[in-house]
């Protein structure tokens, strides 16, 4: 009887321990032990940064019904020591209404309706000796650990990790790069010419399209430099093989200004925002277009050409094409400044994260 009771108590204790045992989940799981191909900075290490990470449910099935009690970021493998320090972090978790491929560049659109403030305080960046890789251990010297003061119960869905970080004076961490996965799925661009005017150097190439932003589910980013505080018009449509002089369209434009569009599908009006840091470059105007994460977007081609209204000049026209595959990472990262309403979205690049849960 006594032995039977003892065995029952031992069995109950083991079961209770198993239920509350801390376990770990690394996302993406392929990098549990080994370094991923890329790296990304950590919010608050050296600058005020806001980073939102969306983690798709496919990564978190083992955590359904459990509570997340900490997250960790591991240093990137490199034959370089990372000097340590501290930063101030505010971390909120929620279940996002957006899957990673639907991630918004607007911070306010990604968290769920009731974010839980799981941490607000100081985080240590350890001084980390060089790690050549490919394996990188989750030891204290290699990890930035955020232990939650309030556990987050996870019941499924896309997890939104919203971090606002600020450096601490005298404890700044100037270069501590956390491991990150990077799916190499660039789109393509083709400069058609047609630029003229006072910006872009001797070839008047004052417009750009970021080809690695041309990913289904991502946000196509295009920008141009021009007359500060002047009107910037981005015309988007199908390309024309032959340029049409702007002067023939009624513009008082100098020679060399040619339009390389055969259709006008979209017009985006901006202002060339003046830049006090690099005034010699001119003002800068940006257009960001959300690309649906659907098969129909793959290989889609359009052309963008800007008009500097003040000068009546055209930028170089750039034909751009969406990458031929949809990212399979099932994560997204929005990275930027907390003072801005929007950040830079990548659905092909995100931190490797270890979750501690019970």
């Amino acid at each position: 009887m006594h032995n039977h009771l003892t065995r029952a108590l031992i069995s109950a204790s083991v079961s209770l321990a198993a239920l509350t045992a801390q376990t770990y989940e690394v996302v993406p799981a392929a990098y549990t032990a080994n370094d991923a191909i890329s790296f990304n900075w950590v919010a608050g290490a050296s600058k005020n940064v806001r980073q939102q990470t969306l983690v798709g449910a496919t990564h978190l099935s083992s955590m359904v019904g459990r509570s997340i009690v900490a997250i960790e970021l591991r240093r990137s493998a490199k034959n370089e020591a990372f000097a340590g320090g501290s930063s101030s972090l505010d971390v909120k978790l929620s279940i996002s209404p957006n899957a990673p491929l639907d991630c918004s560049s607007t911070y306010a659109n990604n968290p769920g309706p009731a974010p839980i403030n799981v941490f607000n305080g100081t985080v240590t960046f350890p001084t980390s000796p060089p790690v050549i890789g490919p394996s990188v251990s989750w030891t204290t010297n290699n990890v930035v650990r955020i232990p939650f003061t309030t556990p987050f119960p996870y019941s499924g869905g896309t997890l939104c990790i919203d971090v606002i970080g600020s450096p601490i004076a005298g404890q700044e961490v100037n270069w501590w790069m956390a491991d990150a996965e990077f799916e190499d799925l660039p789109g393509s661009t083709n400069d058609l010419g047609g630029g003229c005017g006072n910006y872009g150097g001797p070839t008047s190439q004052w417009a750009n399209v970021q080809r690695r932003s041309l990913v289904a589910g991502g946000t196509a980013r295009m920008f141009a430099y021009g007359t500060p505080n002047g009107l910037a018009i981005a015309a988007i449509g199908q390309k024309s093989a032959v340029g049409t002089p702007l002067s023939l369209l009624g513009f008082n434009s100098p020679p060399g200004c040619e339009l390389f569009l055969s259709t006008l599908d979209m017009l985006e009006v901006r202002i060339f925002a003046p830049d006090t840091q690099t005034p010699w470059r001119g003002g800068r105007a940006d257009v960001e277009l959300k690309i649906p994460g659907i098969a129909a977007a793959l290989g889609l081609s359009l052309t963008t050409q800007w008009l500097d209204w003040t000068q009546s000049t055209s930028s170089n026209a750039i034909e751009w094409t969406i990458a031929p595959a949809i990212p399979s990472l099932d994560m997204a990262l929005v990275d930027g400044d907390p003072q801005e309403a929007t950040g830079n979205v990548t659905v092909h690049l995100a931190h490797v994260i270890r979750f501690e849960h019970q």
Binding site: I37, S38, F39, N40, W41, S46, K47, V49, E172, N174, W175, M177, F182, D184, P186, N198, Y199, G200, G201, P202, W206, N208, Q210, R211, R212, S213, R221, F223, Y225, A273, D275, Q277, T278, W280, R281, G282, R284, D286, L333, D335, G336, D337, Q339, E340, G343, N344, T346, L349
Partner: protein, 87 residues
């Protein structure tokens, strides 16, 4: 050689005239924008998975290169001085 990195962009503070300089990018920006410190000629370089971009250095000793990522409050910028190489 000293390295600067607090802006989220890591690079040496000097670079050899006519050579190249490697710039590592901490944020998730897809391109870096490079220009001489007084020029409106801005060249955009693609950021590959390794996050290190090799940038050609003009053969103009004493000039300054500005290297930036991002825009607005999220813009990060460093400056690299071009130095003459030994004969």
């Amino acid at each position: 050689m000293t390295f600067q990195g607090e802006e989220g962009i890591q690079a040496p503070s000097t670079a050899p005239a006519g050579g190249t300089v490697d710039v590592s990018v901490g944020p998730n920006d897809s391109s870096v924008e490079v220009s001489s410190a007084t020029s409106d000629d801005v060249t955009s370089y693609d950021v590959s998975p390794g996050k290190t971009v090799t940038i050609p250095v003009p053969n103009v000793p004493g000039a300054i290169i500005s290297v930036s990522v991002g825009k607005g409050f999220a813009k990060r910028i460093i400056y690299i001085e071009i130095v003459a190489t030994s004969p």
